[in-house]
């Protein structure tokens, strides 16, 4: 379990998260949703151990995340930031290998598995500057998978991707969850959260306003409360789409 208990976070003098409690389960895909500035990325970073809570605590299997050695924490939690800039023009293979850093670069097999899982075999020697947006996103996710983390936390991984690559990435993350990893994603597209997540957290101004199965957490009432717009769902389960209530 990756759990937050009474988590508050103050950044730059502003209250970003306020007394937030939740517990994420392994083997599930959890979507974190909310309007801009609701605190989604901050929550994800706090859960990854990258923000020290101002109050409250974050625990991983009962162990306080802040007290954990950074390398041990890194072995267990893989974090994929929104930022996709790679400073040096390294080859895909070397980029993916960085994921083994918390393991002191032991376990080359995991690098090969991640390259194979994300279909990067033909690109392994290609410099990142010569990759398309989708290829780069796959390489960056492969870097996280190469660390074989028990938790994968990704901040808007679909933001720069076209539909086909979004679907592929969703499939990979779903497979990781099938393999027992806990997956938490910051997602802007509510239909993606509705159709693909096992659970949804909805944030508003740093507070958790809904936490549960997608159908309940993303009910029209909750959407109106969190985003201030009236919307409704259409379509069948697993293929729902969100439309304006005025339509």
């Amino acid at each position: 379990m990756l759990a937050a208990e009474g988590l508050s976070l103050v950044r730059g003098g502003a209250q970003v998260l306020e007394r937030l409690s939740t517990a994420l389960a392994p083997g599930k895909v959890t979507a974190i949703c909310g309007a801009n500035g609701a605190g989604k990325s901050s929550l994800l970073m706090a859960l990854a151990g990258l923000h020290e809570p101002s109050a409250g605590a974050i625990t991983l299997d009962g162990e306080l995340l802040g007290a954990m050695h950074p390398r041990i924490r890194a072995q267990r939690i893989g974090y994929l930031p929104q930022e996709t800039e790679v400073a040096w023009d390294v080859a895909v293979e070397n980029l993916v290998r960085l994921g083994r850093m918390p393991h002191r670069y032991r376990g080359e097999q995991a690098v090969e598995s991640a390259i194979a899982a994300l279909d990067l075999e033909g690109l392994r020697h290609r410099p990142v500057s010569q990759l398309s947006g989708g290829e780069k996103a796959r390489a960056l996710l492969a870097r996280v998978l190469a660390g074989e983390p028990r938790w994968i936390l990704a901040d808007e991984p679909f933001a720069a991707l076209d539909l086909a690559h979004q679907q592929a990435l969703l499939r990979h993350l779903g497979q990781a969850a099938w393999g027992g990893a806990g997956v938490a994603l910051v997602v802007h597209d509510l239909a993606t959260a509705m159709n693909h997540a096992d659970r949804v957290l909805v944030l508003r101004e740093g507070r958790l306003v809904a936490d549960g199965a997608p159908k309940e957490a993303l009910s029209p009432a909750n959407i109106e409360a969190a985003w201030g717009v009236a919307m409704r769902w259409i379509g069948d389960e697993g293929a729902r789409a969100l439309v304006s209530d005025q339509d």
Binding site: M45, A48, G49, L50, H69, P70, R71, R73, A74, Q75, I77, G78, Y79, L80, P81, E83, E85, V86, A87, W88, D89, V90, A91, N94, L95, L98, G99, M101, P102, L140, R143, G147
Partner: protein
């Protein structure tokens, strides 16, 4: 041993004996009178000092570019070299120039003060932006104080000594300077090598690096210590030798996988080659007085920097 290390180790092995023989007077060990004396007491310490300084500046440049994720970063820009220079200028200002130890020691004290200021301002959070700004401001302050020292020189001789010293040179250096700089540069490179893997992780950005277990405060301490020792020692024995740390990683990068950890040792060797070659060149040039090494490298480095900017603008960097 990787390709880049081999290439520059081979080049250094070629350049070192050549630089011993090169000079206004070329030495033929078989026929030049007192050849061994000249070699052992003048040329060899000077050549080894060039190697020591080049090794330090090259490694510091590679580490600094890795840390700032910027191919235009130069270790001289971030306060430590100007502070070391200020220490040396102060010793000349007070007339300690003739003392063999006071000038380098005061330069080292200046470098240490620069490191302490950087660590105190940027160390707590380990933020790269804060580090850069703090470094630039420390450099600016040290530059202003150096200019003030020149303006208020007690006599024209001190002023000329300060200006000459600031231009950087390896003229008339002895084994004492090698003995002073070599251990400090070695220790500094040790710290930078230790930081290398963390610098690799920074390729993915600060947040990703931290998620991979990098401790920003610890990395900053290693970097300030490593750059402080290498650059501080270099300024202490030779004055300001700029642009080596900027140029060298660019020569090395195409021969490596481009990760900072692959660059540090080959950049150290390439730095040694560059300083050694430049110092040999300034000795050979038929000028009335020997061209100062610092000026020669700046004449080479500044156009190189502009060329980098043009390449960057065209998106080729």
């Amino acid at each position: 041993m990787d390709r880049a290390t081999l290439v520059f180790a081979g080049l250094l092995a070629l350049l070192l004996p050549l630089s011993l023989l090169a000079g206004r007077v070329w030495i033929d060990p078989a026929s030049t009178p007192n050849a061994m004396l000249i070699l052992m007491e003048l040329r060899l310490p000077r050549a080894l000092l060039a190697v020591v300084i080049g090794v330090g500046l090259g490694a510091a440049g590679a580490a600094m570019q890795g840390y700032l994720r910027n191919p235009l970063a130069d270790p001289g820009l971030f306060g430590i070299a100007p502070m070391a220079a200020l220490g040396a200028v102060a010793s000349l200002w007070f007339g300690f120039g003739p003392s063999p130890w006071l000038l380098p020691l005061m330069a080292l004290a200046g470098a240490a003060a620069g490191m302490a200021m950087l660590a105190a301002i940027a160390g707590r959070t380990g933020g790269i932006a804060l580090f850069t700004l703090a470094g630039l401001m420390i450099a600016s302050l040290a530059g202003a104080l150096t200019a003030l020292a020149i303006t208020l020189s007690p006599n024209p001789f001190a002023m000329s000594e300060i200006v000459m010293w600031l231009n950087g040179a390896l003229t008339d250096r002895s084994w004492r300077d090698v003995m002073l700089a070599a251990p400090l540069v070695t220790a500094g490179i040790g710290l930078l090598v230790f930081a290398a893997r963390s610098l690799d992780a920074l390729t993915l950005g600060e947040a990703a690096a931290r998620s991979l277990g990098v401790r920003p405060g610890w990395l900053l301490a290693l970097l300030v210590g490593g750059v402080g020792l290498t650059v501080g020692a270099s300024v202490a024995v030779a004055g300001i030798i700029g642009f080596v740390g900027l140029i060298v990683p660019h020569l090395v990068r195409p021969l490596t996988d481009r990760l900072p950890s692959s660059l540090i040792l080959p950049s150290a060797l390439a730095g040694a080659c560059l300083v050694l070659a430049a110092d040999s060149l300034v000795r050979i040039l038929p000028l009335v007085t020997e061209l100062r090494l610092g000026i020669a490298l700046s004449l080479l480095g500044a156009p190189f920097f502009l060329w980098l900017l043009v390449r960057m603008r065209r998106g080729r960097l």
